[in-house]
């Protein structure tokens, strides 16, 4: 999937994206890193088709089939965004229900994906009965239940405490290794982006464009000891420097 020269100007005149180029290869884990208000979320919404670019195009590998219509995109929002009036099971079932998947096979998929995110025991619980971390797990399960080829995540763990965030980081990596879904992960945390991504795209603020790209060479599986390794520290340092430069560059324009 390629974003080619995407511009986005909002109705109020705010220029969110300016000539954004982004090339995402199948199976990649890309982190979009940048300061608040740099258009990361807007870029994600453009990719998802929730927002039309003012200029530029989003290209898919096989435009004939149309990835959007085939429901091959999963989206995880900053908040869990669950429907409070139904159980976890029915929340995760929603994408399949909207697609008209037969109830029996849908129920099977939901049970499998709940098992994968560790919520099998909470299928009957209502969202308000869950902790913040579990709600986010349910949200991820809902995004995964359609077996998307592309998973878009918009700062999904930003509101969680550090312990929960680390746990979910590890679980996300494990799920990604099994499914090999392509992930575009928006974050403003240098440490999170380095830990998770195979490639980090650093963006400037207002208007958002790509400032630098860094490959994270460290092999998967990455686990807790990666967080304390010298390699992790050095990539974090380089990424932080790139982010600092991006913010300086963004400030000038």
């Amino acid at each position: 999937m390629v974003l080619r020269g995407v511009d986005k100007v909002f109705a109020n005149g705010t220029r969110a994206l300016a000539g954004l180029h982004l090339d995402v290869r199948p199976g990649e884990f890309v982190a979009l890193l940048g300061p608040s208000g740099c258009g990361k979320s807007t870029a994600l919404r453009v990719i998802a088709g929730l927002s039309e670019p003012t200029a530029g195009v989003v290209e898919w590998p096989s435009p004939a089939t149309g990835i959007r219509s085939a429901n091959r995109i999963g989206f995880v929002f900053q908040e869990p965004t669950l429907m409070p009036w139904v159980s976890v099971f029915n929340n995760v079932l929603l994408p399949l229900k909207l697609q008209g998947v037969p109830a029996a096979s849908a129920a099977e998929s939901v049970a499998a994906v709940l098992d994968r995110v560790g919520l099998a025991a909470f299928r009957r619980a209502y969202p308000r009965e869950l902790s913040g971390g579990m709600r986010m797990r349910a949200s991820i399960a809902r995004a995964l239940v359609t077996e998307p080829q592309l998973l878009l995540m918009d700062e999904p763990f930003a509101a969680l405490d550090e312990i929960t965030r680390f746990k979910l980081n590890d679980d996300l990596l494990r799920m990604w290794r099994v499914s090999r879904t392509t992930i575009v992960f928006v974050t403003h945390s240098v440490f999170e982006s380095v830990y998770l991504a195979s490639r980090i795209v650093v963006m400037t603020a207002r208007p958002g464009r790509v400032f630098a790209e860094l490959a994270v060479e460290a092999p998967y599986p990455r686990e807790q000891n990666f967080r304390t390794s010298a390699e992790y520290a050095s990539v974090c340092r380089r990424t932080s420097e790139a982010l600092a430069q991006a913010m300086a560059a963004g400030g000038e324009s």
Binding site: R45, L50, S69, N71, F77, P84, W85, L98
Partner: protein, 267 residues
């Protein structure tokens, strides 16, 4: 959890129930005493005991009138609920319809029902006129609240439905109506009391027309006959009916929301 919380909370709940009852008893006792000591005749102010005796003695006509009023209220309420929610959904689906009709809904609401009732009684058969009055008074809060609820849907959830290509019908049924439910039920709670008021106002207005048989008509008729104890007895029944409607709707609200909505959670 419930066991631990009991001590202080339980005492608090008993006090909250017992205090208003104690006030009622005290008030009734003073009332009864004053009437007896001062020898006030019942056609000026009947004592509570006399009102209760009247209630028992005249139970046949009173209960019949109560039933008539309750049926009218219930029918008006159902029409208001269906009309309010239906119209709000229609407005939500089509801007043009909303722009064309909303001002008239407001006009219906702001024109005092007491002033409309005599006109309606000229053009409509009595039962229909009473029903229309109950409807006019009760439907607006349902409409306004439902409209508010349908507009208060979580943006991200709306995006999610769009992402998965949900149809308008699916979005309405699986997203908009459930998230508007607390608002709709809030509107219905207001409408319950109002449809009783609408029915009573219309009955009073119709009273002179003669054929009325609801509680309000009974009050008006007893007034002409200076049967003050019966007026009080009918008034008591009306109050009780209003209280019953309020708590019934509160209970429905609890049943529908207690598992997920903040407003209905038990502390």
């Amino acid at each position: 959890m419930t066991v631990r919380a009991s001590g202080g909370e339980r005492r608090d709940r008993i006090v909250r129930v017992a205090l208003p009852i104690a006030v009622l008893m005290l008030g009734l006792a003073i009332w009864e005493l004053v009437v007896r000591i001062e020898n006030v005749p019942p056609y000026v102010l009947p004592a509570p005991g006399v009102i209760l005796q009247t209630l028992a003695a005249d139970w046949a006509p009173l209960s019949q009138s109560l039933l008539v009023t309750l049926v009218t209220t219930f029918e008006g309420f159902l029409l208001a609920a269906a009309g309010g929610v239906g119209l709000a959904v229609l407005f939500n689906q089509s801007r043009l319809v909303e722009y064309s009709l909303y001002p008239y809904a407001v006009i219906l609401q702001v024109t005092p029902i007491v002033a409309i009732a005599p006109l309606l009684l000229i053009y409509l058969p009595q039962h229909a006129a009473v029903l229309v009055c109950a409807w006019i008074v009760a439907f607006f809060p349902v409409l306004a609240n439902t409209t508010l609820g349908l507009h208060s849907v979580d943006r991200n959830l709306t995006d999610l439905f769009a992402l998965y290509g949900a149809s308008r019908g699916q979005t309405l049924w699986h997203l908009k109506l459930p998230s508007a439910l607390p608002y709709i039920l809030g509107g219905l709670r207001i409408a319950g009391g109002l449809s009783l008021i609408g029915a009573v106002v219309a009955e009073i207005a119709a009273g002179s027309a003669g054929a009325g048989s609801g509680l309000a008509y009974l009050i008006a008729e007893s007034g002409y006959r200076l049967n003050i104890p019966r007026m009080f007895a009918a008034l008591l029944l009306l109050s009780l009916a209003g209280i019953a409607i309020f708590y019934l709707l509160a209970f429905v609200n609890y049943l529908a929301l207690h598992r997920w909505h903040e407003s209905a959670l038990q502390a």
